[in-house]
């Protein structure tokens, strides 16, 4: 009687790890076999996440961005929605919200062609908009395009000048 009452508990104790183990085997086994499998331990560093098609990192460190800015050799491009740009942005930045990239790109194309280093940014460590925008601009023929990861936040935090807002 007592044994019977505890049966589901005993079963749960071995079934739970068994099911997890089965899922693990299936997941890893099939991942190795399929052509679009992913590495078991991925490289999620900013350099790897914000790379161009050939795997070169597009990331520009804050220090380098600041130096370019002080030499007036940089053109910032804000990839966030326009209302966020209006609330405050990096000095001299253009706005090309990734959601409406085609329209905004047509409006700003001339200003982009100044021969400066283009640095895209958005906000948040995991924000991909700036990366998507940088790849788009490279596709459009701009060679010198970089990404300032988590740009709005790190720029402000460093006490550097901003505009708007």
């Amino acid at each position: 009687m007592v044994k019977n009452e505890l049966k589901p508990l005993y079963r749960a104790l071995w079934q739970t790890p068994a099911l997890v183990g089965l899922a693990l085997l299936l997941a890893v086994g099939i991942n190795q076999w399929r052509p679009d499998g992913i590495p078991l331990v991925g490289d999620w560093s900013a350099d790897a996440r914000f790379a161009d098609a050939s795997g070169h990192s597009l990331v520009i460190p804050l220090e380098e961005a600041r130096e370019l800015f002080e030499r007036n050799e940089v053109l910032f491009v804000d990839a966030r929605p326009e209302y966020q740009y209006q609330e405050g942005h990096l000095p001299g930045a253009l706005v090309i919200p990734w959601q409406e990239v085609d329209r905004y790109f047509m409006e700003t194309a001339e200003q982009l062609e100044e021969g400066k280093t283009i640095v895209t940014y958005c906000d948040g460590e995991s924000c991909d908009l700036s990366h998507d925008l940088a790849l788009f601009l490279k596709d459009m023929g701009f060679a010198d395009v970089r990404v300032l990861v988590n740009g709005w936040t790190v720029w402000k935090r460093a006490g550097l000048p901003t505009e708007g807002g």
Binding site: K7, A12, W14, T16, L19, L26, A27, V28
Partner: protein, 173 residues
């Protein structure tokens, strides 16, 4: 649930204790396990097909260390598939209901945690497409409903069925 005789013996054994309750309870139990099984199978499908996109979704939750992101993104959908299959087939129910409840708890905790720190992320719950829309209060409520069903199933397996099995041969669990 292999044949009607066995079911009759089991329910008979239970009805002798509390008459008239076992039949609707049994129906609700089977409905609940089929429903949750379907939910997990459906949830696993798109994630298994697109491991890279799902890994991105897991990464965006910003909860796991980078090194654990890919393995979690690989194993999670298969775990959902395995327990979904268990729930639908009605086998290994103690293990399946424990994992089901555990998963739903972790999912809800992750959603609420990211809501509270204001992270605007996509759920990645049923689809790796961003068209699913960002996480909101409804995502949390939906998962809370799934958790309730899951807890009910677990209680049923650990408490209600135990009583049943005392007076009859237990089925494969």
């Amino acid at each position: 649930m292999s044949n009607e005789n066995e079911a009759a013996i089991r329910t008979g054994g239970y009805q002798s204790r509390i008459p008239g309750i076992s039949r609707p309870k049994t129906a609700a139990y089977h409905a609940a396990r089929l429903f949750m099984g379907g939910v997990f199978l459906y949830a696993s499908y798109d994630k298994i097909l697109k491991p890279a996109a799902f890994a991105e979704a897991v990464y965006n939750y910003q909860i796991l260390p980078d090194a654990a992101v890919n393995l979690t993104a690989l194993v999670l959908p298969w775990l959902e598939l395995v327990i979904g299959a268990c729930l639908i087939a009605g086998v290994w129910m103690p293990g399946a209901t424990v994992i089901s409840t555990g998963l739903m708890t972790v999912f809800i905790a992750s959603l609420i945690y990211n809501q509270m720190r204001g992270l605007d992320i996509h759920c990645g719950c049923f689809s790796t497409e961003t068209t699913e829309g960002p996480v909101g209060i409804w995502t949390v409520l939906r998962d809370a409903a799934f958790l309730a069903v899951s807890v009910y199933l677990m209680l049923h397996v650990f408490w209600f069925r135990r009583k049943v099995s005392i007076s009859s041969r237990s089925e494969r669990e």
